[in-house]
């Protein structure tokens, strides 16, 4: 009755769209035309991420990103103005960049971009608004960390680094409280208002005047270079180790295992990402097959590299039924060990190669995903054929490359495991794993 299983033919060759580039005043416009894509994505990238914040101003970038939504009239006036154009404000502060923008129907982007540009360049920055947004961010922090997985991921920075990365990106609940309206105004004046940056525009551009858009956004702003890159200091203490954050009566444990990794520019991405895919980057990865499909401990587990301009982190995250917590950690470490010693199978190698090459039309099928790729290129100084080079790198990668990547980039002896769960139930089994010392803490004592 059924047909025999078809073998896919050859994939069509994919080339990442070549962007148009133009210089407008002090800034650069990079645009991708996607005929028929009626919703446009517009992003302004400025080199003012969290990593560059002085220790006494941690969180100022995030807070400023929030306050921009109060618009040029203050009092949360931007979003309603954009809403009337069917547009949506976008703001994302990362460790390396301050990214703002707007998603809008392509026939409304002139108006939407004008509103967006005003909000970025000349916001009201009223003290009342700053204080309201700050208090809201502080309360949001506590709400967010009441989710065990968020608490685990936010706690890990302090285990791996001293300095800026030891505190969460938004400054955390203590440091953020010290950021005043004056500090926000100074940060905006020095790093945002007059800094031209790079404008990314993606969508159906047949009727879009890119130069006019650039003029609207850049005005008389001037270019500025990113902060110099210096490697951050690492946290002291014995590795590997376990930090157990007590959350009484939890029926599940959130586990976040992490160690240092090279920076984005220092890592060989096809090898590293390919190895990470095999370990925990795909549904069919070893960790997911073991913890979910074989043991039934979890709804899902994954791993990834978080790569910044000056450093990196490799992490594994999952949530498991409480009694399986200790074994979930040791089973994960066993999978790392197997990958380091035994390398990958031919089947895993082909999965890595194929998924990172023939899948590119899927990866870049929306204006947003194309814009995101362009933002990454700008933030990390990547060439415009970066995606094509990456694809070529995956085509060349070998099984030996992936085994060696596991040796080069996985360091279980340097790992810290943050576990959020019921300490009464978990402390003893975690100590018995022999992974390393176990420190039990009240989550509220973490934030300084």
């Amino acid at each position: 009755m059924l047909q025999t299983r078809p073998e896919p033919g050859a994939a069509q060759p994919y080339t990442f769209p070549k962007p148009q580039r133009l210089q407008v005043g002090g800034g650069s416009v990079i645009a991708i035309d996607v005929p028929g894509q009626s919703f446009a994505a517009i992003r302004l990238i400025q080199p003012a991420g969290g990593a560059a914040e002085p220790l006494d101003r941690m969180g100022v970038a995030t807070l400023t990103g929030e306050v921009l939504e109060d618009g040029i009239h203050g009092n949360s006036s931007l979003a309603p103005a954009l809403e009337r154009h069917g547009a949506e404000w976008v703001s994302r502060v990362s460790w390396d960049a301050f990214v703002t923008g707007v998603d809008a129907p392509v026939n409304r982007i002139t108006d939407a971009t004008a509103l967006f540009a005003e909000a970025v360049r000349t916001p009201a920055l009223r003290a009342d608004d700053v204080l309201r947004r700050r208090e809201q961010l502080l309360e949001r922090f506590w709400l967010d960390v009441s989710q065990p997985s968020t608490l685990a991921s936010r706690a890990v920075g302090g285990q791996l680094f001293t300095g800026r990365y030891a505190t969460p990106l938004n400054g955390g609940p203590v440091r953020l409280a010290d950021v005043t309206p004056e500090i926000v105004a100074e940060f905006h004046a020095s790093s945002i208002a007059g800094v031209a940056g790079t404008l990314v525009v993606v969508g159906d551009l047949s009727d879009v005047d890119l130069e006019a858009l650039g003029r609207t956004v850049f005005g008389d702003a001037t270019p500025t270079a990113p902060e110099p890159v210096t490697a951050p200091e690492r946290a002291a203490g014995e590795f590997p180790r376990i930090l157990l954050l007590n959350r009484p009566d939890s029926v599940q444990s959130a586990i976040f295992m992490a160690h240092h990794a090279p920076s984005r520019s220092a890592i060989d991405l096809p090898r590293a990402e390919g190895m990470s895919d095999v370990l925990g980057g795909m549904f069919t990865s070893r960790l997911n097959m073991k913890l979910r499909e074989e043991l039934g401990y979890t709804y899902g587990v994954g791993c990834r590299f978080d790569l910044r301009r000056d450093s990196g982190v490799f992490c594994i995250s999952t949530q498991v039924e409480a009694p399986t917590t200790a074994h979930s950690i040791t089973a994960s470490l066993e999978e790392i060990d197997k990958l380091r010693t035994g390398g990958v199978t031919e089947g895993e190698l082909s999965a890595v190669r194929e998924s990172n090459t023939v899948g590119l039309p899927v990866t870049y099928s929306t204006a947003r995903s194309l814009a995101y790729a362009m933002v990454e290129m700008v933030v990390h100084d990547l060439p415009e054929d970066h995606v094509d080079r990456l694809r070529a790198g995956f085509e060349r990668v070998t099984a030996e490359d992936l085994r060696q990547a596991a040796v080069d980039y996985l360091h279980p002896d340097q790992l810290v495991a943050v576990v959020v769960g019921d300490a009464g139930q978990l402390e003893k089994p975690l100590r018995e794993t022999g992974v390393g010392p176990v420190e039990v803490r009240d989550p509220e004592t973490l934030w300084t």
Binding site: S38, N75, E83, G86, P105, R132, G296, T366
Partner: protein, 443 residues
């Protein structure tokens, strides 16, 4: 093949076995978004079997007659594709986006599990996925603050025994009770080509897609017996006000209000969707302006405090949800939200507010159909629920014809206390929570 002039490029086909195929063009090339809507959801479940439609969704990835466990995932991931599934009250949805050259393979994988799933099912697989789903339940419901809110809302909004009385995740006891015989019979009852809408969004010629779908699905027979869903008829308001008060470890008081509104697809559903957008969607909405910005009573939710749960076969629910700021009691927040609800019914809304609400809804709609996978899903929905795939393109027009007077009249009719349910969460160890452990407390 028939096409709609406005949508322009939709292709519609029905196979001899009842399978409905819809095709549409993608905005970017070289890919195919494949989306399957099966007309089975948690509304088909009966007491003692809750959570089964969703558990079954997991089992659909565990192998079939010609596909090994996890091989379906493996095949799509190798293609760099996106793959997932979801279950709601009214349907179960499977979807993949893959490079275009792999369309045949995906169609074959989907056809194989439709035709031969029962050949590959084992007790071991069932036991494993039962554990996975129980962990999904822990992760989404039991181990997070406010996680049980939806279950509590549905219990208040629909009477015991009603097919919408429970959440799709089901209860731990019912998940434990699931047995292999029931798995096999569930597939036989609900999974037939006659209960399937298959949507393909790609750059391929619709006739070409039709030929391929016929090749892989054409030989699968329709179900011998069409399963009947339990009766979901429900008249009148909730019979409120009804409430559920929870005192447990949560970071702040939270208020959830629910109101029964007409079924998804009815004009009054659209009217109430506009009402919810005026009230709580976007930062220009009333609840955001008044309670977040001006009065500082609620946590900043970005303008997402009101929405509708769309149920096609029974009255839907309008939900309003906010979390209290530090130092603000649950009672104060609840009263403030209710004031805004009453204000809307008593003082009406402005034309400008309605315009903004329409723009917000239209933006959300356009954003979801701008993605090939989102377009395929929307087309599947419009076909399965309304037999009108073109609605995926024209849906925003429904809101253009609704007036402010209509919104206010419907709000007056439907947002009264006789139609209201309230679920309140309060942290332990606050004077108010202690006082309220039994029932009502004042601000």
């Amino acid at each position: 093949m028939t096409t709609n002039g406005a949508a322009g490029q939709i292709g519609r086909f029905t196979l001899d076995n009842g399978l409905r195929l819809v095709t549409a063009p993608a905005a970017t090339g070289q890919l195919a978004a494949v989306n399957l809507w099966y007309g089975v959801g948690s509304r088909h479940e009966v007491p003692g079997r809750t959570g089964f439609a969703h558990l079954f969704e997991h089992l659909m990835f565990q192998g079939s007659g010609n596909v090994k466990k996890s091989e379906h995932f493996d095949a799509v991931e190798r293609l760099g594709g996106d793959i997932n599934a979801s279950t709601s009250t009214d349907r179960t949805n499977y979807f993949e986006t893959v490079p275009e050259h792999a369309l045949d393979l995906v169609l074959w994988l989907e056809a194989d599990r439709l035709a031969t799933l029962r050949d590959g099912m084992t007790q071991e697989v069932l036991d494993n996925q039962r554990d996975v789903v129980k962990n999904e339940r822990r992760q989404r419901y039991d181990n997070v603050p406010y996680g049980t809110a939806l279950e509590r809302i549905l219990r208040l909004g629909y009477p015991e025994g009603h097919p919408y009385h429970h959440a799709t995740i089901g209860s731990m006891a019912d998940l434990d009770a699931a047995d292999l015989d029931y798995v096999l019979s569930f597939h036989k009852r609900h999974y037939g080509p006659d209960n399937l809408v298959l949507t393909v969004v790609s750059s391929l010629d619709p006739e070409d897609v039709h030929e391929r779908v016929k090749r892989y699905f054409g030989g699968i027979p329709a179900r011998e017996t069409v399963a009947e869903a339990p009766d979901a008829a429900l008249e009148g308001p909730i019979g409120g006000p009804v409430r559920d008060r929870v005192v447990e470890t949560v970071p702040a008081p939270a208020v959830f209000l629910g109101f029964r509104v007409p079924a998804y697809g009815d004009r009054d559903f659209d009217v109430m969707l506009l009402a919810s957008a005026v009230l709580g969607q976007g930062q220009g909405s009333r609840l955001y302006r008044r309670l977040v910005v001006e009065r500082g009573l609620a946590v900043d939710d970005g303008g997402g405090s009101a929405d509708l749960l769309p149920f096609r076969y029974t009255p839907s629910l309008m939900l309003v949800n906010m979390i209290a700021r530090e130092g603000v009691s649950g009672d104060t927040l609840e009263e403030a939200i209710l004031e805004e609800v009453v204000l809307m019914t008593e003082e009406g809304i402005t034309e400008e507010e309605l315009e903004r609400a329409r723009a917000v809804l239209e933006r959300d709609h356009l954003q979801s159909v701008a993605h090939p996978s989102g377009l395929a899903d929307t087309i599947g929905s419009c076909t399965m629920l309304f037999d009108e795939p073109e609605l995926a393109y024209t849906w925003p027009q429904r809101w253009a014809e609704i007036s402010a007077d209509e919104v206010v009249a419907a709000a007056k009719r439907l947002l009264g206390q006789e139609n209201r349910l309230t679920v309140r969460f309060d942290p332990e160890e606050t004077p108010e929570a202690t006082e309220a452990a039994g029932e009502s407390a004042s601000a």
